[in-house]
């Protein structure tokens, strides 16, 4: 029998176009997703050199970062408007399919790729966006690239890549009730740090991962980059195939059965070796809240904010002090005592239909605290529509949430959805960096359920207790 391999090695080997000593491998790219922010300079580069897009049929574009979520046809900022128009012109010029602002498929690039069935097991997928790791949930090798690399892929459909090291993140046991995929990935980053994945591709394995739905797997893989890993993936299984069946770009009928056979063979072989393995027990994971200015600065809901005086190194002490100051928190303060001003349910981490359903189940029949402004931004227009068909929009609106149009929105506040200076937001997105949601804005990352409960209470609460009170 041939040597057992990881899915990462298998996908790699299937995509090598050219090898040379002392050089990275030239890797073929199956799918290139494009959005308005990181592509204009790449298209301009092609034009300057008189180059074409090699495979427009393997390229797919949408607009998400700048899109207004109130009135999508009214883009106040002329620079944003210009950037969106430029994408449209570029797609027309180079023959690239585009889910434009008025297209029913429009949405966050990492939400619509899977939705349309463009994302499939075994593919190499890139996008000028670090959260491309999301697509790894399907057993694809998917990673973010910069604009020069976007240009390179447009022109050649390949990339020079150094074979990454492999890292197995094994999640044993099962998540408890009220504990979500978001809590799991936050707990993983808190435990192992924001750098532990640098230089690696992560494969998530273990019983807890197998039990996750596709949408939950996307939440986990999405945040691989917050641990430093460009790509994070999960070997495909029945859950994957069931999700894919019937989607627009997925093979149909007999072709689907054949595809499934190929996809099954991709899963990591029994006994395959990784460069590194770490383990975590899902049973011990609790609902998480970030307190600081990177996603690793994260604690369970019933914990207190760290004290810099207890730090082991001077660097760590400085880092904690600076984060506390920026966040307006005091050392040893219980995180549940922190009052919030805003709630954002959305982003490529947590804006899918199941996320909205779970958040809606928490807020149903309740009211958002009057000091809190809360918005829900579905990840795509089709999610918005599906949610409306189920009446989720009504539940949210009756509770006092605003129900918006699809886009990145307050995840990075490039449009008008900005958290004002010094104000505090419970957010289901993926980055709590300084200024991420607005200059001086204070971000706390949480699950959709935790965000929903925080909207009602005006502060962080343990959603597990919240749900009990709800049912009793």
């Amino acid at each position: 029998m041939s040597q057992p391999k990881t899915i990462i090695e298998k996908i790699w080997e299937q995509h090598v176009v050219h090898v040379e000593p002392n050089k990275p491998d030239l890797l073929y790219i199956d799918l290139h997703l494009v959005h308005e922010v990181t592509s204009p300079q790449a298209f301009e580069g092609l034009r300057m050199q008189g180059r074409k897009v090699r495979r427009p049929d393997r390229t797919f574009a949408t607009m998400d970062h700048n899109v207004p979520t109130l009135d999508r046809y009214f883009i106040k900022d002329p620079v944003s408007k210009k950037q969106m128009e430029t994408l449209k012109e570029n797609c027309e010029e180079f023959g690239i399919p585009l889910a434009d602002i008025d297209h029913p498929d429009q949405g966050i690039v990492h939400v619509i790729g899977p939705e349309l069935g463009l994302t499939q097991p075994g593919k190499t997928i890139v996008c000028g966006d670090s959260h491309t790791s999301t697509h790894g949930a399907f057993g694809a090798l998917a990673f973010g690239i910069g604009t020069s690399e976007v240009e390179h892929v447009l022109a050649t459909q390949t990339l020079w890549q150094t074979k990454p090291k492999t890292l197995n993140v094994k999640v044993n046991g099962q998540l408890g009730t009220g504990v979500t995929a978001k809590d799991l990935i936050l707990a993983i980053i808190a435990k192992f740090g924001v750098r532990f994945g640098t230089g690696y591709v992560v494969e998530y394995t273990g019983d807890a991962i197998r039990s996750l739905s596709m949408e939950e797997r996307m939440t986990v893989c999405n945040m691989s980059i917050e641990a430093g890993a460009r790509a994070g993936l999960i070997s495909p299984d029945e859950t994957t195939f069931n999700y894919l069946k019937g989607r627009r770009h997925v093979p149909k009928g007999k072709d689907f059965d054949e595809a499934v056979e190929k996809w099954q063979a991709l899963a990591t072989d029994e006994g395959a070796e990784y460069d590194t393995t770490v383990e975590i027990d899902a049973n011990e994971v609790e609902p998480q809240v970030t307190w600081g200015t990177n996603p690793g600065m994260c604690i369970p809901i019933n914990a207190t904010v760290p004290n810099p005086d207890k730090a082991s190194t001077k660097n760590e002490k400085d880092e904690i002090s600076r984060a506390l100051e920026y966040m307006g928190l005091t050392a040893d303060q219980p995180i549940s005592s922190v009052e919030i001003d805003h709630v954002f349910i959305g982003s490529c981490t947590n804006s899918r239909l199941s996320d909205l359903r779970k958040a809606a189940s928490i807020v149903e029949g309740k009211k958002v605290k009057d000091t809190v402004q809360a918005i829900v931004v579905p990840g795509s227009q089709s999610i918005k529509l599906a949610a409306e068909e189920e009446g989720l929009d009504v539940i949210f609106k009756e509770a006092g949430f605003q129900w918006r149009e699809a886009g990145c929105s307050m995840c990075l506040a490039m449009n008008d959805d900005i958290v004002p200076y010094g104000e505090r937001c419970a957010s289901t997105s993926n980055r709590n960096f300084e200024g991420r949601q607005g200059n001086g804005a204070r971000t706390h990352l949480v699950s959709p359920e935790m965000a929903a409960a925080a909207a009602i209470e005006g502060r962080f609460v343990d959603v597990r207790k919240f749900a009990t009170t709800l049912s009793s």
Binding site: V17, L26, Q41, E149, I225, M414, F433, G440
Partner: protein
């Protein structure tokens, strides 16, 4: 891309780790469709307050660093978003070389593609450089061919850049042109699918 071989320049120390690309260049400046002119927005929220007034307490605003071309920073530099606007802003501001114990993968690649040399140096080495640059006007000479860093006071450290990246930086290659010399192989691969 401009080749880079040997460079002597003033050091600017930024003693923080995990500096993310949102700090290097905030999102409100990513809307432009040009590649140039991002230097004015570098570390914007650290350099300017909410009203756009220069913050005197941020070290890069100290005139003594006006001509700095070598940035020394803490570990995991450039983490977060893939925005190439980050290296564009650093380069446009005048930085040609970055020295840190470690970098985020995407940021590192983006530097190479733009002819910025991002050097990985031990944590101890970085600490030494930061201390010297914080307390004096401190210059370093970086030689990419020999892969060595030196100052005039006897400090010397070697570093390693992967062979392919080194060649790219030394020659200022257009990577797409290099790749297109393998076009036959790409076509073969596509036909075999």
């Amino acid at each position: 891309m401009e080749p880079i071989r040997k460079h002597k320049g003033l050091v600017y120390p930024l003693n923080r780790s995990n500096i993310d690309t949102d700090q290097i260049i905030p999102k409100q400046f990513l809307k432009r469709i040009e590649r140039q002119g991002f230097g004015q927005f570098l570390f914007y929220n650290w350099r300017f307050d909410d009203d756009g007034i220069r913050r005197e307490d941020f070290s890069l605003n100290d005139p003594k660093y006006d001509n700095a071309s070598i940035l020394v920073a803490g570990e995991n530099f450039g983490c977060g978003s893939s925005r190439e606007h980050a290296p564009w802003a650093l380069q446009d501001y005048g930085f040609k070389i970055i020295i840190a114990p470690s970098y985020a993968d995407i940021f590192y690649n983006n530097c190479v593609k733009n002819g910025i040399l991002a050097i990985k140096l031990s944590e101890k080495g970085v600490e030494q450089l930061i201390e010297k640059a914080e307390t004096s006007t401190y210059e370093l000479t970086v030689d990419l061919e020999k892969q060595v860093i030196q100052d005039s006071e006897g400090f010397e450290a070697t570093f390693e850049v992967p062979a392919y990246h080194r060649e790219m930086l030394l020659n200022g290659w257009d990577e797409i042109a290099v790749t297109l010399t393998h076009e036959d192989k790409i076509s073969q691969y596509e036909q075999a699918q």
